[in-house]
């Protein structure tokens, strides 16, 4: 073992050019894998983040539309308990349609009321507020940018709303928000929970309980926990994965194609190593022959080449990880949008990188199997006869 290892090491050291070439080959393979892998993952993460990062990922509603959920505070405690590690940004929303009247126009909007502090987690309203502030008084509201433009209202104006059941009241605009989604900016009016509950006559009830999870892709499983914890037939639990099935199937298609690229990169790396090592068996056959003449067993002679494969794999993997991470970092740093943010944010997944490096080492060991078998069959007589 020991001798085989030190001979392997010496063989690699003595033909530095060849060694460098194989290591470079493996390194490029590994770095391409890491680069493509983190590119695709980064892309997917940012896409998912844009889609559901500022939205409810699991939502609890009444089965009957328009019914309100009573005792929401107790239910929220139960929900949080069902999976305390995953569930974050839990909040209750009281919402309902209303008709907004201005002297020369009327439009249907959705009035959403929630505790500003609770809502900070999902909606980050404070950041989204372009002018004014969040009103905590009765009948204080904030209006979406596009709606404000359309109706020509500004901070300090009073507007009138009517509910489908005929409730009518006046509201003070304390701020304008921009959620960066036009349809929401046009149709949402936000207010504190109290205002919404009173105006919509929810009788202390809420329309929905919204939450996010730490691992977005595990939202469906967490939703099951929530459903079990609530154990209430009048309530229904939905999650973003059901609502965005098309997006998800797009993502898994992307993952599959990146996997294909990675497999082919690895195959070409394996072929490269196998052929270079095969050449080196021919180059070293004289040495192997004399070692066998001096009594080295066939398996030991094979080990020399297996060790070379392992060593090349390890060196290549280390160089490849460095190159791949560097490449991903440069891409994220230098390929930027007009505003200076990365086109694709850097996403370094060490678990994935570890697997990638492990596969490279395994592959180069496998590739050295062919030359190792050839070496075990080499007859010392051939070498001694032919000089």
């Amino acid at each position: 073992m020991r001798l085989a290892f030190s001979i392997a090491l010496r063989f690699l050291k003595s033909s530095k050019g060849q060694t460098a070439l194989i290591v470079l080959g493996i390194a490029i393979g590994v770095s391409v894998q890491i680069f493509i892998g983190s590119l695709i993952t980064g892309l997917q993460k940012s896409l998912v983040d844009k889609t559901v990062g500022s939205a409810s990922q699991i939502t609890v509603e009444s089965v009957t539309e328009g019914d309100y959920i009573q005792d929401s505070a107790d239910k929220m405690v139960a929900i949080q308990k069902s999976n305390p590690d995953e569930i974050i940004n839990l909040m209750a929303v009281a919402q309902g349609p209303a008709i907004l009247k201005t002297p020369d126009d009327s439009t249907t909007i959705i009035l959403r009321g929630f505790d500003w502090e609770d809502a900070e987690g999902i909606y980050k309203i404070k950041e989204r507020l372009t002018t004014g502030n969040l009103g905590n008084n009765r009948n204080d509201i904030i209006v979406g940018q596009d709606l404000a433009e359309k109706l020509n209202v500004a901070v300090g104006d009073t507007i009138e709303m009517i509910t489908p059941t005929g409730m009518k009241d006046n509201f003070l605009v304390t701020g304008i928000f921009d959620l960066q989604i036009k349809s929401l900016n046009e149709s949402w009016i936000l207010t504190n929970l109290n205002t919404a509950q009173t105006f919509l006559e929810t009788n202390e009830g809420v329309s929905r309980i919204e939450m996010q999870v730490n691992d977005v892709f595990g939202a469906d499983l967490v939703a099951l926990d929530v459903e079990r914890a609530l154990n209430d037939e009048t309530l229904t639990v939905t999650n973003w994965k059901i609502e965005n099935a098309a997006l998800l199937s797009g993502l898994s298609g992307q993952t599959a194609s990146s996997l294909m690229i990675q497999v082919f990169v690895m195959i070409s790396v394996v072929l490269g190593i196998a052929s270079v090592l095969a050449i080196s068996v021919v180059q070293k056959s004289r040495q192997i022959g004399i070692l066998k003449a001096m009594g080295m067993h066939n398996q030991r002679a094979s080990l020399v080449f297996l060790f070379q494969g392992v060593l090349l794999g390890i060196l290549g993997a280390i160089a490849g990880v460095g190159l791949g991470v560097g490449l991903s970092w440069s891409f994220a740093t230098f390929v930027v949008n007009a505003d200076g943010t990365s086109v694709v944010p850097l996403y370094i997944d060490w678990y994935f990188i570890g697997i990638s490096a492990g596969i490279a080492i395994l592959a180069s060991t496998l590739a050295s199997l062919i030359p190792a078998i050839r070496v075990s069959k080499l007859d010392p007589m051939e070498v001694i006869k032919n000089g």
């Binding site: 001798l3 022959g289 066998k292 001096m294 009594g295 067993h297 070498v383 001694i384």
Partner: protein, 229 residues
């Protein structure tokens, strides 16, 4: 029966499957422990074939080789390897040193094949042998950075490393000038006398052969002359 350290019994060697060349004909010969033997003969007479069969590098078509009283006929490749490692030392016309290693490391190689790691004692021994063959100064040179004579002497030192009972040498001085050749044979003699190592040397040089205790001439695969002094 004499005390043979190595012996062939009715050895035949036939090369080729369609066109058959018989290199050795029913050859039986034994070599005594501690003897110094020369094998001579014309080119193509079968000297190397005989030596390689004695050295278990090649197998006879028929017959058997007995080393240390044990037949090698049914030994596995691994067992033959161990036998060569422990009892035989080879010196060929070409040195076959490992160019990636220094002279000292090359000499240590047979020991490391057996033991894995070279200990202090074995390194001391390797250095002593290198001193014996006059290479103390270049022991840390890579084998490629030595002269032809130095390389061949390193190969001889390597053959001695594991205290072999027998040294098999196939034209060991074929590539050396006459002065170096004399040096090598004096060295062989010295080792033979001091350590009692058996030598079987193939040579084209009559002058060298005459210094041996026994001269065996091979012609067309058979022993045609066997003189013991």
């Amino acid at each position: 029966m004499a005390d043979f350290v190595v012996q062939t019994k009715n050895v035949n060697k036939v090369y080729g499957k369609t066109v058959k060349t018989t290199a050795l004909h029913d050859l039986s010969i034994g070599f005594e422990a501690g003897s110094f033997n020369a094998i001579i003969g014309e080119s193509g007479s079968g000297k190397s074939t005989l030596l390689n069969i004695i050295g278990t590098l090649d197998r006879p078509t028929q017959g058997e080789v007995i080393i240390n009283g044990v037949s090698t006929k049914n030994m596995t490749k691994g067992a033959l390897g161990d036998l060569r490692n422990e009892t035989l030392g080879f010196v060929f016309q070409f040195h076959y040193l490992l160019p990636e290693f220094t002279a000292l490391e090359n000499v240590l190689m047979p020991y490391r094949i057996a033991q894995g790691k070279a200990d202090k004692k074995s390194i001391e021994r390797a250095k002593e042998i290198l001193d014996l063959v006059g290479l103390k100064k270049v022991e840390n040179n890579l084998s490629v950075n030595m002269s032809g004579g130095q390389q061949q002497r390193t190969a001889i030192a390597r053959a001695l490393m594991n205290h072999p009972k027998i040294i098999l040498a196939d034209e060991p001085t074929g590539n050396l000038d006459s002065q170096t050749t004399d040096g090598v044979y004096q060295l062989f003699r010295k080792i033979n006398e001091e350590l009692g190592t058996t030598f079987i040397i193939i040579t084209h040089d009559r002058r060298v052969a005459e210094k041996a205790d026994r001269i065996v001439e091979i012609t067309d695969g058979s022993v045609t002359l066997d003189v013991i002094k």
